[in-house]
Symmetry: D2
Subunit: 331 residues, 4 copies
């Protein structure tokens, strides 16, 4: 299919590598003879016809930059049917032959709704640090967020060991434990709390204390690091910290890594993934496929129906779950 | 003066480069023909006679390591006169000819008290990320803490700009604005709140809003970064964030960098400074000088009486203060 | 199978994450009730009965350390049959029930030879930055080496663009282009030379000049980065640089990244991979399987016969090869 | 003095923080009510009237970027008197009231020559990784280059120790040992060769072998790192490596860090220094002072006659020289 113009936007929570996606989509489209425009502030730009032209100069040196030059935003309005029609009209007015939406599952739901009333291809590119998008092995931003978390945990370990304290560290992930599980294993944390396995505060506290107890027998040092997925502990981490301090008698500190996990120059895997998924999104548009996600499965790109993406819940790696329990008793 | 044995300990808040100090003291002492022991957990180890031997093997590869292998701790007990006498006795029993205390001004007060009843040299090495020790241009750990803060602020900027948010970022420093001022200028933050200049919440809020207003006229983007020294805003940063959001209409987020600022491999300046101050501390002991701090002034090491250190308040750099106001109106 | 003692060694070219392997093997073995010893200097330690005990204290904080505390080495002698018998005897004398060899394909050949005459399980763990081991998706060290190369390429780009120079950058990889291909795409290099596709110097030079020519039309800047796998260009990179400079009229500089690619704290993927492959190696030994490699395939660990590993050549990712050509014409 | 337009250019070897200088000059000038233009490719842009406008948008986010958006270059032509007159004419034609030249001593010589025939202020800002500019404590780029060298040396140590090799590492610095001396001490290298103290290859080789010999007695490991200033060893590092290998019997490897030392996001000290020197350069222009360098002395900015700069040779830190010998015997 001959394409003359492709549009791209970034939507939802920002992630390192979104700029690399914008670059890849742009270069692939330009390479295919098309023009490229980028809507600003996610779907808001589409509704307001606010966009910029993306030529090779505009995307130069974007590969390595954190953030998104198109800006991102949530867009509540985009849930209204009349707004979808305005968006479709704007795409047609601008002569757009295909739209690439870089974002997470919330953004993909918007893409699906828009696709249902627009007759040209919309392709989603999974861009979120949370990795909570089914149908693709990885999402853009995930690799960098974990590396940032691990580097912070390495630093926390220094001070935890110096003072023999317990540190409770809050990492991002929304409803999914991908960042928590992988950063905890990679940083040699003593324990990790995941939404996928969390039961009750009382039960989890028993498990934590039991683990700390066992570990202390295997080494002199009383420092411990416990990684917790955001928003998981009922009442917040202060509640957990107070309980831990009361029960263990060891000084407990809290650290919330927060938004640093969303920033920074992407690590190579996110740059490579963004480049693959972005170029493949253009390929999907050229093939005229509608309502697809540009995904990576077993290291090769694939077109996966957005519809399938929304109904599936993504599993944590089974072997990672296994070694989490084995290793952390001794480590 | 012939010295046969030197002791070293790290005390108070831990700082990157404390290990490099331990290594430097050890290598310089060994080079001078002395043995070296390291007391663990600050003054607590001195009171409990808990120490390890520090030979060239023991300090190998410590230069680049964060934390402190001797551990650190506060020691309330050390304020009691009878405990000082126990400490002095322990030093004599162990045959120690000189003691090096790596820490901040609180640790130096302990060193002064101990010096007043012990007849051999005690030397302080300024090791704290806060840089709030008078009599020395810089303290060990300060350079790394700012670099860590700046790297985090760089990441925060990515996400702040993507979403056009205001970020209020809490950095360490205790009662001093060194980390806040330098990290804010180095990261191009829009505003910085310092203990040295803070008046009232109401007045400071007016200044912040005024600054944000001016900056917005100079650029389209509504993202801003405000750096705040820890414990400064009355009622906490939530209070500030709520006021800012209400007044500006822009989404405000809070980030507390926290203990990551105390960890990590020291940057080269802290390694070099630690090496200079540690070796010079041994020199001071060899000269038989008592109650001194091993300091850096105008890039050369110097012996400064601990007594002078405790009464002086250290000023922020005057030109940094000046450009803080100039640059940040536009930048 | 009840195991009482497991031995581990690191052999061949060192790679970031080897220490994490040593830790994982040790913790998994200790968790299974076994003792662990580590032979030093690869197979040399086995021949000289030079080893250390690895308890939880010994492997503490190894996860994040570059290098290998067991040291590595090549061992020519190990190709002699009589030496293999000595090694087997030493393993028996020490009461070893299973041996883990962390290294590349050369080290695995030694493992196979030893397995042919020793009756207890030997398991290989793929540890090499080159990723040139078939039968496993990735090798330990590979992810870190590419990240190091990409960070260096990012820095080179700054100076290349400042001066509008061509930089020819030599990266490691031995006979394989994994590091070169992935670092080139991830850093947005203009061209990459791979052992898998290299024809002749004359032909490749034409392609390079053609590419540079096309790219220059798409942008004003005359700076270019060309990534070359080590030892690939006939006569060395000076020959290539001279030709390029003569033909393009642009100033050409050479940079050989070298051994920095082998060092540094491993990135999280190498830590995680090392932890998985190390623990799984112990699992393979417990199962009594002989002559296996602990591999990762589609994100799960698997036992792969070492024999299969040695005969297969590993392919570069097909989609990476494709985008290499597409993207680099414009980027 | 009322200034309406200021021009800035970057010249000579590029250095991290040049962009931060451009930003600081621009913001300070704009803050003073002036317009700003930036000449491209150093003095070449001045001769060709090739420049861009620098408003707050143009310099946004330049603070943290490596390289120089104005590009840099040497300019042989600028040594000709007729070219100087052309340059002065171009400055007058553009209505420029003051010129800021960011560069090293070579660039400052050009600035002095131009100042001798132009009647408005020219101010030099010392920007070079080599730190070889007298009259200022530090130059912009110097802090980052050493940090880059130290991080590389940390990685080299990993692989050096794994294989027990000697690494000879070439660092930049031109005719000055600042980078070599500071990176060697900060990385705990075993020996460093400096242009300031180098005698003959024969004598230096004896010293190196003697040092390695002493160190080996203090530890089991035979790995050593020797830092060498570029272009220092007669015949090149291969000659040194061959001699070392022949004499020591230990495997010797060479690593040339090269241009990575010129790139990368500047560390905070270079950002702060660039901001101070850049803003102060505008202050000097406002004061109407001619032929000055904006310098940093004892942590405060100062105007230093360019003439004084060119005749003085800058000394290495005396205490650094002293500990270099003491510490490195034991290490």
């Amino acid at each position: 299919m001959a394409i003359k113009k492709i549009a791209v936007l970034t939507s939802g929570g920002d992630a390192p590598g979104m700029n690399a996606c914008i670059r890849a989509v742009s270069l692939a489209a330009i390479g295919a003879g098309a023009e490229v425009i980028g809507y600003k502030y996610g779907y808001n730009g589409l509704l307001k016809q606010e966009y910029i032209h993306l030529d090779p100069y505009a995307v130069r040196n974007l590969l390595q930059r954190g953030g998104t030059v198109l800006h991102s935003a949530r867009c509540e309005k985009f849930k209204q049917t009349d707004q979808l029609h305005i968006a479709a009209q704007h795409l047609n007015d601008a002569g757009v032959d295909g739209l690439v939406v870089v974002g997470g599952d919330g953004s993909f739901k918007g893409a699906e709704r828009l696709q249902s009333i627009w007759d040209k291809p919309i392709v989603g590119v999974p861009g979120t640090i949370d990795n909570d998008v089914a149908g693709t092995d990885y999402t853009v931003g995930y690799h960098t967020a974990i590396q940032t978390a691990v580097e912070s945990l390495d630093k926390v370990r220094d001070t935890a060991e110096a003072f023999e304290r317990i540190f409770v560290v809050d990492v991002m992930g929304r409803e999914a434990g991908f960042i928590a599980l992988n950063s905890a294993i990679s940083a040699g944390a003593d324990h990790v709390l995941l939404p996928e396995t969390f039961t009750t505060a009382a039960e989890e506290l028993v498990k934590i204390l039991d683990k700390l107890d066992k570990r202390r027998k295997n080494r002199a040092n009383k420092s411990h690091i416990i990684v917790v997925t955001e928003n998981l502990w009922p009442g917040g981490l202060n509640v957990l910290a107070d309980s831990l301090q009361a029960e263990s008698g060891v000084d407990v500190r809290i650290l919330t890594l927060g938004h640093v996990q969303r920033g920074g120059s992407p690590v190579w895997q996110d740059r490579l993934l963004a480049t693959k998924l972005g170029t493949y999104a253009v390929e999907i548009i050229k093939q005229g496929q509608k309502g697809m996600m540009s995904a990576i499965n077993h290291r090769l790109p694939a077109a996966v129906p957005l519809n399938d993406v929304s109904i599936e819940r993504k599993e944590l790696n089974s072997y990672s779950m296994q070694i989490r329990d084995e290793i952390s008793l001794l480590g």
